[in-house]
């Protein structure tokens, strides 16, 4: 393996390029029309255009990706997460073109990609699943039939896309009269996000935690589960903060849940990196939720507490190496790590997307801080893709210090031109419930509802005055500058002369 085509964009494409460089492999980028200037294109050895900005016409076009791989002479493909990462046709097309797909084989993706098939696989492995429908509900199943099924499962329940992930194509139903519209909404979102409107129903547990187990599996029968990740801080079923280890997981629970995860992987002869997601109830009972057959967004926190590089291991496993990681090392965290997913959203306006040009950007740095980002100043955040611009990760000796370090880093994060969720994280990480680990998957939506739109960071009188001073100086200086795009070039004396006018 010498050259890897990265079939993705944004921060994850950059992350994979970094692994390639460290392994002396040549990274090849692909890009859609609006991504020509993106960081992953600038950091790659080669880059190929694959079509218009809409994902279906570029990052989801298997033919164009295979073409780009052929043209570049790449011998392997890394799919990242999202887009085609869990598409068995893409894995099969890579194999047919003689390319090594850095991930599980098409059969495992197909089995675990169907949420209903995955649930049967978990049951076969002796792992409990959340009660729900055994069979998928296609677009042809009537409202009446779905209502009857829902009645047998009981309310509240979740309508979930069979091909789903990332909270897309998912709805909560408390009142039976909302079921039909929830199914419609979920189907429409699932069809647009995954090209498959099929849904299923699942009982909604009362106050579960979302705990997941990262796995690496080589082609020689070795399965290594990692210390759990706690992902209960979710908004609209999307993770926004993850940490490891979980404050709620005892050594006994860790042993049980990681063994269960390994058993599920064995049941489907899984290979490469994957993650088994569980719900854990208030009594410490756990239920299989689903398997993600790819690298996970939140993989960096596992890397921070184990010192292992999961992307490099994906590549090493794909080229046939033996997974010789000490299992105890993978299960024994050193310190504590937290990740905040920084989104281009306006937290003070119901988290509506805030696309646009990033005019200034200075991410945090320093001890224990890792910022996995695809953003740079001068780049537009396009409307066509997920609005995540960065994953900010803090590591420290223990959880309390990791929270303090994350708060410090959030305070350093300067972004101009778009709104981001940084102020929201500053608020969240100062909440006593968060500090004490008193939360479950319902926590965030409940506290957000209770806040009823109150701003997350309310400027005090001193900050307001500073903002007024800054705005006045900025306007005065801008008026005095020779041109808005001139920077300091082209006649500093002119600027000076105009500033004189301010006397």
């Amino acid at each position: 393996m010498k050259k890897i085509l990265i079939a993705n964009r944004g921060e994850i494409a950059v992350r994979i390029i970094r692994a390639c460089r460290e392994m002396n492999l040549s990274p090849v980028a692909v890009y859609s029309e609006c991504d020509r200037a993106a960081l992953h294109v600038r950091l790659a050895d080669e880059a190929y255009a694959i079509g218009p900005s809409a994902p279906r016409e570029s990052y989801l076009r298997i033919d164009r990706l295979i073409d780009a791989a052929r043209r570049s002479g790449a011998d392997a493909v890394h799919p990242g997460y999202g887009f085609l990462a869990e598409n068995e046709d893409f894995a099969a097309a890579c194999a047919a073109a003689g390319l090594t797909f850095i991930g599980p084989d098409a059969r495992a993706i197909e089995t675990m990609g169907s949420k209903t098939a995955a649930r049967s696989a978990a049951k076969r492995a002796g792992v409990p699943v959340v009660p729900g429908t055994e069979d998928p509900l296609g677009a042809d199943v009537s409202d009446a039939a779905i209502a009857a099924t829902a009645q047998s499962i009981g309310y509240p329940l979740l309508v979930k896309a069979v091909a789903g992930g990332g909270g897309k194509g998912m709805r909560t139903v408390v009142d039976p009269s909302d079921l039909a519209s929830a199914v419609r909404g979920a189907r429409s979102e699932a069809a647009s996000a995954f090209g498959d409107p099929t849904v299923y129903l699942e009982r909604k547990l009362a106050r579960p935690r979302h705990i997941e187990v990262q796995l690496l599996v080589d082609h020689h029968g070795t399965v290594v589960p990692f210390v759990e990740r706690e992902c209960s801080i979710q908004r609209r079923h999307q993770k926004v903060v993850e940490e490891t280890p979980s404050i709620a997981v005892t050594p006994a629970l860790r042993a049980a849940i990681t063994s269960a995860a390994a058993a599920v992987a064995n049941a489907v002869a899984y290979t490469n990196a994957g993650t088994i997601e569980f719900l854990v109830d208030e009594n410490g009972r756990f239920y299989f939720l689903e398997m993600n057959t790819r690298l996970q967004v939140e993989h960096p926190i596992t890397e921070m507490v184990t010192g292992l590089d999961l992307v490099q291991w994906q590549i090493r496993i794909a080229r046939g190496e033996r997974l010789d990681v000490d299992p105890a090392r993978a299960l024994t965290p050193t310190g504590h790590a937290i990740e905040c997913r920084v989104y281009a959203e306006d937290p003070d306006n119901n988290f509506l997307p805030s696309p646009g040009r990033i005019v200034a950007l200075r991410p945090p740095a320093g001890p224990g801080i890792r910022d996995d980002s695809g953003a740079t100043a001068g780049l537009d955040v396009p409307i066509d893709y997920d609005p995540m611009i960065s994953k900010l990760v803090a590591w420290a000796e223990d959880r309390t210090r990791a929270i303090a370090r994350m708060r410090r880093a959030l305070g350093e994060y300067l972004v101009g031109g778009i709104k981001t969720t940084v102020p929201f994280f500053i608020w969240l990480l100062s909440q006593p419930d968060f500090a004490d680990g008193r939360f479950d998957t319902t926590y965030l939506d409940a506290v957000l509802k209770a806040r009823n739109g109150r701003p997350f960071v309310e400027p005090d009188a001193g900050v307001e005055e500073m903002a007024a001073i800054a705005a006045a100086l900025h306007t005065a200086l801008a008026a005095a500058r020779p041109s808005t795009n001139g920077g300091s070039t082209g006649g500093r004396w002119k600027t000076e002369a105009r500033l004189e006018g301010l006397r």
């Binding site: 509506l352 101009g416 006045a472 900025h474």
Partner: protein, 177 residues
């Protein structure tokens, strides 16, 4: 000396800016502070603001602040980030178009698109009675469907949103009276 009317947090301040040597004297309403400005880039300033002297001293406390200033396309205001705290600022009466969702109470609500996107569903029709926070239009942007809600109780007076249509930020979608 240049003068600006600057509105922050619902209160308008008169701010004067004058150069004094290599610094600026900035007068906010009646109080004047001396500010040392370093321009980092077109949108970033480092400010050192001399504030009042502690008792028994003659040297002012010099407060450091890093600020990022950029226009906010959706409102016409400036977004000023003081460190990580965002503050909306209107300069010289460039009053923002009011946030639709907050315009509860009296006048008509003009619901406009807060970001560019595609109209997925229009949930009401002209003449419908709607309640505050009732979803009116679903806009898809950044792979998520976002419900835009009524800011007040009323009747749907105008519908400009059409299903399947792409809209720019600020496009008028629905008027509720």
């Amino acid at each position: 000396m240049q003068h600006f009317e600057i509105e922050v947090g619902g209160r308008t301040r008169r701010v004067g800016v004058a150069r004094t040597g290599d610094k600026f004297a900035v007068t906010v309403d009646t109080r004047t502070v001396h500010v040392d400005v370093a321009r980092i880039d077109a949108h970033t300033l480092s400010l050192l603001v001399d504030t009042k002297c502690p008792p028994g001293t003659t040297d002012a406390v010099r407060t450091a602040a890093e600020v990022v200033i950029a226009p906010d396309a959706a409102t016409g205001q400036l977004m000023v980030g003081v460190g990580a705290t965002p503050v909306a600022v209107a300069v010289n009466g460039r009053r923002p178009r009011r946030r639709d969702e907050s315009s509860g109470g009296n006048g008509p609500q003009r619901l406009s698109a807060p970001m560019p996107g595609k109209i997925v569903r229009v949930l009401v029709k002209s003449g419908d009675a709607v309640r505050a926070r009732q979803p009116l239009v679903v806009v898809e942007a950044m792979k998520m469907e976002n419900e835009l809600r009524a800011g007040r109780d009323g009747l749907v007076a105008e519908i400009h949103a059409r299903e399947g249509e792409s809209v720019d930020a600020g496009a008028l979608l629905v008027v509720v009276k």
